[in-house]
């Protein structure tokens, strides 16, 4: 075996009683993509923070090219050629690409910055590594995929030879992810080494040559990707077998949602003449590349945005564009973004649990909220939906993504909804939580609720939906029976074939 470029040697890090990293040893060879797989809280981020000098390990050391990396010094990590691409981008929106890349690499005392040579170097890097980006474009005008390329260029510009990508596909569409994997393969062919952090099995299988699995702060296994199956990886990561969601056939009930020739517009997003019906006891999946109007459709059904034309009927009644009216009509709304829309992070679990119904007679009378009843309600959600938390008074910000989603599920399912709008309900969740959400959605289907599932995860759509429709540029295809569609036929529709707008 080649001499490793990076060796992580028995790294241990404790936070109080919690052992976040327990004697983890890993090595990374030149020209290799190592997947780092683990659920949220398995210790991936802690390990990378130690590698990057943000934390100091309690025990163990890190060697780059055989030389020990001084602990706790991000500068030393940068100088040793370690570059990190964070999940949440660290770009200044109002600066150009070139400014963002050069930012921080020049001395503050320089009279003027040498942008032309920087520009030439960026062009060269972009060409060598296949990262097409216009250097003078303003970052705010770039798509998410382009921004990620800028982040990677930033690392390369600083001569990174070991690239760490933290959940790089969390914000990408399937197409963009595929393009990213191609780019990464080109990188390693040129001699870079990559650590690819993810909790998505498919990506690890597609992108990596080797995978290390962390669970509960321990390295539980290291495998060659060619020697392992998805199911095995899932079991290693979670520590127990993961059941596949199974939707049993059942006969649909009454119409719970009917959209007729619905149109809406918000900025560059639009809906054109959408017609859609959801019956009780069925799951309608909406596929589509992100940004084709799915969020706007979801907002219209959530009551946060009004249709400009057409009608929206829930359970036989025409709906007003008001979140409260939608809740009262029996719509359970699972929003796309848990943190900014779903929950109020700085408030308690109790306060969040009743956010949709604090004015109802169940929780308040004459303008006063009965917090005792609210707490009982929150406790019932915590126990019924297995929300892991210190108690109903804990701030929601402290919950993991999966537990936050369970809390949202509990909040919206408590009142026996007729229609469930699930917008990206499993985005960013780990395998265990994903399985749990799927289970709950299917249980609601069994009880007779109609479900509108908007997702960018085609596997999820095909596993849960009775019918699938595709959105493209604000139009919606006719729903197709699940048995009649394949990933490739959906892919063609997602690319616009068969739509009137398609070129």
């Amino acid at each position: 075996m080649q001499h490793p470029v990076l060796e992580i040697d028995r790294i241990t890090k404790r936070f109080g009683p919690l052992v976040a990293n327990d004697a983890i040893s890993l090595s990374l060879a030149r020209g290799e993509i190592l997947g780092l797989l683990g659920e949220n809280g398995a210790g991936k981020t802690t390990l990378m923070n130690i590698l990057f000098g943000h934390y100091v390990a309690d025990e163990g050391e890190i060697r780059v090219d055989g030389k020990v990396l001084p602990p706790g010094e991000p500068r030393a990590a940068l100088a040793a050629g370690i570059g990190m691409v964070h999940q949440h981008f660290t770009l200044a929106d109002n600066l150009t690409v070139i400014d963002n890349i050069v930012l921080g690499t020049e001395s503050l005392w320089r009279w003027k910055s040498n942008l032309s040579s920087a520009r030439a170097r960026i062009r060269q890097l972009a060409e060598d590594y296949g990262l097409a980006v216009a250097p003078d474009a303003q970052v705010s005008s770039l798509s998410v995929g382009e921004r990620q390329r800028v982040e990677i260029l930033k690392a390369l510009y600083r001569n990174a030879r070991i690239l760490i990508l933290d959940e790089p596909t969390a914000v990408l569409t399937p197409q963009e992810s595929a393009a990213l994997f191609e780019t990464l393969k080109r990188f390693v062919a040129k001699g870079l080494s990559i650590i690819f952090i993810s909790h998505k099995l498919g990506e690890i299988m597609d992108a990596c040559s080797r995978v290390a699995i962390l669970r509960g702060g321990k390295l539980v296994a290291e495998r060659k990707v060619s020697d392992v199956t998805r199911a095995e990886l899932a079991e290693l990561m979670v520590g127990r077998p993961i059941p596949k969601p199974k939707a049993e056939p059942q006969s649909p009930g009454n119409m719970v949602l009917s959209l007729e020739k619905a149109s809406a517009r918000r900025g560059s997003q639009a809906l054109h003449n959408i017609s859609l019906e959801v019956l009780g006891g069925e799951v309608i999946g909406i596929a589509g590349v992100s940004g084709n109007g799915q969020s706007l459709l979801a907002d219209c059904i959530s009551g946060t945005w009004a249709l400009s034309a057409g009608s929206l009927v829930v359970d036989g009644q025409t709906s007003r564009a008001s979140p409260r009216a939608m809740v009262e009509q029996g719509v359970a709304r699972i929003p796309e973004d848990r943190h900014t829309e779903g929950m109020i992070g700085d408030m308690s679990i109790t306060e969040n649990a009743v956010a949709e119904r604090y004015r109802s007679s169940a929780f308040s009378s004459r303008g006063l909220v009965d917090w005792r009843k609210a707490r009982v309600f929150a406790e019932s959600i915590i126990s019924k939906y297995d929300v892991k938390c210190p108690g109903p008074e804990a701030r929601v910000r402290l919950l993991s993504g999966g537990n936050m989603q369970k809390l949202i599920l509990g909040r919206v399912m408590a009142h026996d909804p007729k229609l469930i709008l699930a917008n990206q309900p499993t985005r960013g969740l780990d395998v265990g939580a994903v399985a749990y959400v799927h289970e709950q959605l299917l249980a609601a289907r069994k009880r007779g609720a109609g479900i509108l599932l908007i997702s960018e995860d085609l596997d999820e759509l095909l596993a849960l939906s009775d019918k699938v429709a595709v959105m493209f540029k604000g139009e919606l295809s006719a729903p197709m029976q699940r048995q009649t569609v394949t990933i490739s036929s959906l892919g063609l529709l997602m690319a616009g074939q068969g739509f009137s707008h398609a070129a």
Binding site: V56, T304, P323, E341, G342, I344, D346, A355, G367
Partner: protein, 349 residues
């Protein structure tokens, strides 16, 4: 140097840091007192005595704290909902204007009726002043920091115009002042021969009322929700704009009460120096109190004690009374820093 968010805030932390902050402020101010040539121990001693040491001083401090409680509550209520009301000064003056318009003889009512009428009108006056910027904010997205701040000057000029015109006291020897409010409008003194008046008790009751609204009522919950995350509040079905409008009415109303209580309890009439910046100091009070309504009472008494005490110190020890402003400012800065440190941990690497 970096900041790491703390996952848990222990009680020791929550109490310890603010105490440390005030101690730090005391040390800084001691150095400043030394610069003027006075002994800091003697200086602080004089201050303490001047603010709390005698019965007279103590009542004087409470008198000074009364308008600060009202304006502090006004700021706390608004800031909790992230409505940045910097205009309590204007709202205070508008409350005072309403009080003298109705209370100087226009409504010859007995006190049990006149008091509530004047209180409600003062609240309406203050609330109206804040309603305009709030409407502009919710409707057109105009920044309320700018509009409420600038309204302070507009309202002060408006009051000046009234005092030179329709509200001018014909018996006032030409001074820009209004007539005195009638006897039935005046608040009684709490202690015979002292300036402390019933307004202080009403201010404390107002703080209790705000606290109950905050903890128990749906409105209090809505205001906190909107303040923490307006987008999520909207998604959950909380009518964000209506909540902001109600917040503005409450906040502006509380500031208006400050004007009412100063006129009916202390000054008797309206002049242009009714408030030496109570509206602005209210912001400091609210921040020192961490926006907690009961904390506002304590913070208002603290700030009032510093001002009253510094006056006494300057008379006796020759330290300029500007030290009061410095002390309040240093306390505020160290308190804000302490609050940050209860939420974040400082790492030197």
């Amino acid at each position: 140097m970096r900041l790491e968010p703390r996952e848990h805030q222990s009680l020791a932390l929550l109490v310890g840091y603010p105490v440390l902050a005030l101690a730090f402020a005391a040390v800084v101010c001691a150095l400043l007192v030394m610069l003027t040539g006075a002994s800091p121990f003697q200086g602080f001693g004089l201050m303490l005595k001047g603010a709390l040491g005698t019965q007279f001083a103590f009542f004087e401090t409470l008198t000074r704290a009364t308008p600060l409680i009202f304006t502090g509550l006004a700021a706390a209520v608004a800031f909790r909902a992230k409505l940045w009301n910097i205009g309590a000064e204007a709202q205070l003056y508008m409350g005072a204007v309403m009080t003298v318009v109705l209370g100087t003889g226009l409504l010859p009512l007995p006190w049990p009726i006149l008091w509530p009428v004047l209180m409600v009108s003062a609240m309406i006056g203050g609330a109206l002043v804040l309603s305009v910027p709030t409407f502009l904010k919710t409707r057109f997205g105009v920044d309320e920091v700018v509009t409420t701040l600038l309204l302070n000057f507009i309202v002060l000029l408006f009051v000046s115009m009234l005092l030179e015109g329709v509200l001018k006291d014909p018996m006032g020897l030409g001074w820009p002042q209004s007539k005195k409010v009638i006897a039935d409008a005046q608040l009684p003194k709490l202690v015979q021969g002292k300036r402390l008046h019933l307004g202080f008790v009403i201010a404390v009751l107002a703080a209790l009322a705000v606290w109950i609204v905050d903890r128990k009522s749906a409105l209090g919950y809505e205001m906190r929700a909107v303040g923490h995350n307006a987008k999520a509040a909207h998604f959950a079905g909380i009518p964000v704009n209506r909540v902001l409008a109600k917040t503005a009415l409450l906040s502006g109303g509380l500031a208006g009460l400050a004007g009412w209580s100063e006129v009916t309890g202390l000054k008797g009439n309206l002049t242009l120096d009714l408030s030496p910046g109570f509206g602005y100091s209210g912001i400091v009070v609210a921040m020192l109190a961490l926006l907690h309504p009961i904390g506002v009472v304590a913070a208002a008494i603290f700030v009032a004690a510093v001002f009253v005490g510094a006056d006494a110190m300057s008379r006796t020890a020759g330290v300029p009374s500007y030290i009061a402003h410095v002390m309040v400012a240093v306390s505020l800065l160290s308190m804000v820093t302490a609050i940050m440190l209860t939420r974040y941990r400082l790492r030197w690497r």
